[in-house]
Symmetry: C2
Subunit: 335 residues, 2 copies
């Protein structure tokens, strides 16, 4: 699998031998901290030791590059999800804009809650309600039109309580982890229950993950030749890819099984259970929202990001719980 050779290693070789030619001094052996935003806790050691073991060809734990599949959830794992999923704020802005043409929405859920900005009323309906609203806001346009609308919204929208752009509500320590894994030839994907088209507008630039490795729930699209060949977005749900649908979609899309999986809610439990059956050494990570000051503290309660059965299983099976308050120096970029 030549195509999977370490880019980093090759670059290092080039740098090494070219600097030698210039009689430049040898690079110092000073180790670089790949995870500077992580405190030196057991969690950080667990991650570093796992990666060192499975990438060392001499180690019995060595994992061939082609098997180094990593799958991370997005909402609550790579970026925040409170008060509610950020994609919902986009949908609500569109719903309010469209409501004047839809008087029937006044008495119809989830539209009524949407128009009244009743976030918990919508969240109470889970991803299904979310995607009905989302469907209403993207049906009947081309995929390019949708991309432009989301991009324009992201350029101006800010989070209701932090006033940060949503793309700065991402977790700096997790971005460092993504790049550290990529630099060690891990094949890093996002498998979120959030909308695939919504994430692909910004995730590549923000996380450094190519859009073909950003996966999520989707609305149906339809190929049409009317007015020139194009893909039209329909208001019909294709699939909500949460819970059991995560390992099923991971298998469809990658044909493989993760060696590292990261999530933060019961919606990610099946993905972690699937990862735990890997014949290679695996690393299951649960981001535990423990910091009520710098972020939000929640787990077993609430409609958004509930971590209940997953928390019990993580403790029982010794999976790695990332304690945001204790393990992370910073939460968001440029803090």
């Amino acid at each position: 699998m030549k195509r999977f050779l370490s880019l980093t290693a090759l670059v290092a070789l080039v740098v090494a031998c070219s600097s030698k030619e210039q009689n430049a001094p040898e690079p110092t052996a000073e180790p670089v901290d790949a995870l500077p935003s992580w405190n030196d806790t057991e969690t950080k050691s667990t991650i570093l030791e796992y990666v060192q073991a499975v990438t060392d060809e001499g180690s019995p734990s060595f994992i061939p590059v082609e098997d180094r599949l990593v799958t991370f959830d997005n909402d609550g794992t790579l970026w925040a999800e409170k008060p509610v999923y950020f994609q919902l704020y986009y949908a609500l802005d569109r719903i309010s804009y469209m409501a004047k043409d839809h008087p029937e929405w006044e008495n119809e859920e989830p539209y009524a809650s949407g128009i009244n900005k009743d976030l918990h009323g919508i969240a109470a309906q889970g991803y299904a309600g979310l995607f009905e609203l989302i469907g209403a806001t993207q049906g009947g346009m081309t995929t390019d039109e949708y991309h432009s609308q989301v991009k324009a919204w992201l350029d101006t929208a800010v989070h209701p309580t932090t006033n940060r752009p949503y793309t700065e509500m991402v977790y700096q320590p997790m971005i460092e982890l993504i790049h550290y894994l990529q630099d060690n030839d891990f094949n890093v994907y996002i498998f979120s229950a959030g909308g695939i088209d919504f994430m692909r507008v910004w995730a590549t630039e923000v996380y450094g993950i190519p859009k073909e490795k950003v996966m999520g729930s989707s609305m149906k699209t339809q190929f049409s030749l009317e007015g020139g060949a194009h893909l039209e977005k329909l208001d019909q749900l294709d699939a909500v890819r949460d819970k059991e649908a995560k390992p099923e979609f991971i298998y469809l899309v990658t044909g493989g099984k993760p060696v590292i999986a990261g999530g933060n809610s019961d919606g990610d439990l099946a993905m972690l259970q699937y990862t735990a059956t890997n014949t290679h050494p695996f690393l299951n990570l649960y981001v535990h929202h423990t910091d009520s000051v710098r972020e939000w503290a929640y787990d077993r309660d609430g409609h958004v990001g509930r971590l209940d059965a997953g928390l019990d299983e993580a403790v029982a099976r010794g999976w790695t719980l990332i304690d945001m308050k204790y393990d992370w120096k910073v939460i968001f970029p440029n803090e």
Copy 2:
């Protein structure tokens, strides 16, 4: 997009500077023929000139690496599909083996045709009939069990008329094209109407395409915790990804639009029509089966690999027709 840098270029650098250190002679400037199995026809020039133009940073046609998406069909484009889709031979061997437990199949299509090895009776039912047979042969087993069964079959099965292993019924010139494109930082995928799990057993080794870039039609899988977490294959069709479903699935899986698409039948037409809307220069390739001696000659007639509307559109729009008899020195490997 550092991660997309040319591996080849880096390897070359490493080789170059290490050989320099050893005072080895400079490599000669003799150009290497990247497509040795292709005759020096207009088709070969079209391909070479396109790749040179879009990979030259100084060229107005330059395409950034992250946009170099390539999608190839498989049956009839990368390997042969006559007398019928090879996956059907696998299904028939299984159906015959299972028939004794299914007396009802005697009078039920497509099973009756399957048991009687009436290939054209099955082909007449298109991919739907094919996938009903396929479903019956893979339902109720784990994904790992299915993989092992297909692998075992491939190790011994041979093509009915050529007696070659099916994995040697691939088109050598197309394999060279795949590697030439990969070496020029194109992101090469397979989008076939054939079975995704069936292809992934062998396609990576035979074509050098990672399994997460091998896409096709699929049967449903179901995550289960019974007897340990696993994915179970169901006998229910998930989706036949032919015709309009090809661009729809390309968009779902990659979030992008191909700059190069290759097919051989009307089932690939929508994929090529979608590619033709790319704002970058595009290259649409239709493999035209013109060699009745070395392979099979067919286009507008027949149930397998019909190229009719696609042939008209390719001619009308000046897409590139690959004339197998005229453009290819050899068809299969080790001829």
